[in-house]
């Protein structure tokens, strides 16, 4: 496992425990990471708990690689085109959103540029930005996850 993958998994586990969730799944071009926790039948010290102390006697489990898709409570905002991802409208401007921000349905989250067409990408739900998955000014593929949003009830 590469160190940046390990760091990302650690971050996901931290979100999992902080938010008291049971599962997060992130998909990339060639990699799918699912972080899941459940009540262990027997405590196993060798369980791959990547970081943090599990709450309520629940141990995080980390799975990396091809896994069956299961519904997650988080909405994933994906890129509708191949292009370059920008978190701000210009290099000097502040980002559209930060992790932890509450966003409204229809709010602009980022730009994806292709052929000098700047496409605004919006949130499909009211909710909180849990994770920004791509660095600004880097290439993105069609369907690549850009944001994880924790939708608010009723959205």
């Amino acid at each position: 496992m590469k160190s940046d993958q390990r760091k990302e998994i650690e971050e996901l586990v931290q979100i999992l425990t902080e938010q008291n969730l049971t599962e997060i799944e992130v998909q990339r071009k060639d990699l799918r990471i699912r972080v899941r926790r459940e009540s262990p039948v027997t405590p196993t010290p060798s369980s791959p708990s990547a970081s943090g102390s599990p709450k309520h006697g629940i141990l995080p489990q980390v799975m990396v690689g091809a896994v069956d898709a299961e519904p997650s409570r988080y909405l994933t905002v994906t890129s509708p085109i191949v292009g370059t991802f920008y978190r701000s409208p210009s290099p000097d401007a502040g980002p559209y959103v930060e992790e932890g921000d509450l966003v409204k349905k229809g709010q602009v989250l980022c730009l994806v540029e292709a052929m000098k067409l700047m496409n605004e990408i919006e949130s499909e739900a009211h909710g909180r930005i849990v994770k920004i998955l791509v660095e600004s000014a880097t290439p993105v593929e069609y369907g690549q996850p850009l944001f994880l949003i924790d939708p608010l009830p009723g959205s």
């Binding site: 191949v82 292009g83 370059t84 290099p91 229809g106 292709a114 052929m115 000098k116 067409l117 700047m118």
Partner: protein
Amino acid sequence: MKFCADPSPLSVSAIQSALGLCSLGRDMHIHDEVLSTNTMALALVDSGANHGTIVLAEQQTAGRGRWGRSWFSPPKKNLYCSVILKEVYPKDRLSWIPLITGLAITQAIEELANLRPSLKWPNDILVGDRKLGGVLCESTPQGTRRRAIVVGFGINVNSRIEEFPEDLHLSSTTLAAETGRLYDRNHLAARILSNLEVHYERLRSQSLQEVRGPYLASCSTIGRQICIRLVNGEDIKGLALDIGRDGALRLAPSIEFPHAQKSSKEVMEIRSGEVVHVR
């Protein structure tokens, strides 16, 4: 070279009478001064503007290029225009809209002036290596009622090079500087809009080759050694081979570059970055 005073101000009636039956420009707004015509057009999209609505300005105080770049926009001499496109188009051809806009502009200039500009991928309008015009397209989100593409362009028409900021003197040109005469911006705007409508309709309803062929004929990037500066500052050098199905520039790189999107081992597909033609 001497230039007389401003030949004629922008006029809705002058442009519309030259447009005839063109569906673009039936709603038209001309302002003395705006931040940028794209900013104004995006606001009009929010308030429900019709397909084909045009925004023109005599002056922009914050003319914009790609990702925060500025566009020099002095008053009353040049053309600053934005077009709102709202009608349904094949989604996989949206990324051709910036390219056909560049094509519409180069063809309009060819028709009105004794000048043959070329397109630097994707849509800079060049005379030789100097920039005569630029295009910036912005699309509003897909999921809301305000889905639209705003097509903005700026063309250096009647201003003199000496009026430009010094750092642009070698890289910019104007129609007047190239040909020694002044142009009616109303005629130029109407010609560009008519051409844009033709290419837009072809893009929507005909085979891609109907727009790709004319684009390739006007594009001076293909077949050349180029250098592309990506937004992360990385430079990629190579031979520009072709235009891909979505309008991407297909490049045979001089050496391997890990970050660009590739269609195969040998060919990279470039979708954003600043192209420099290498002599």
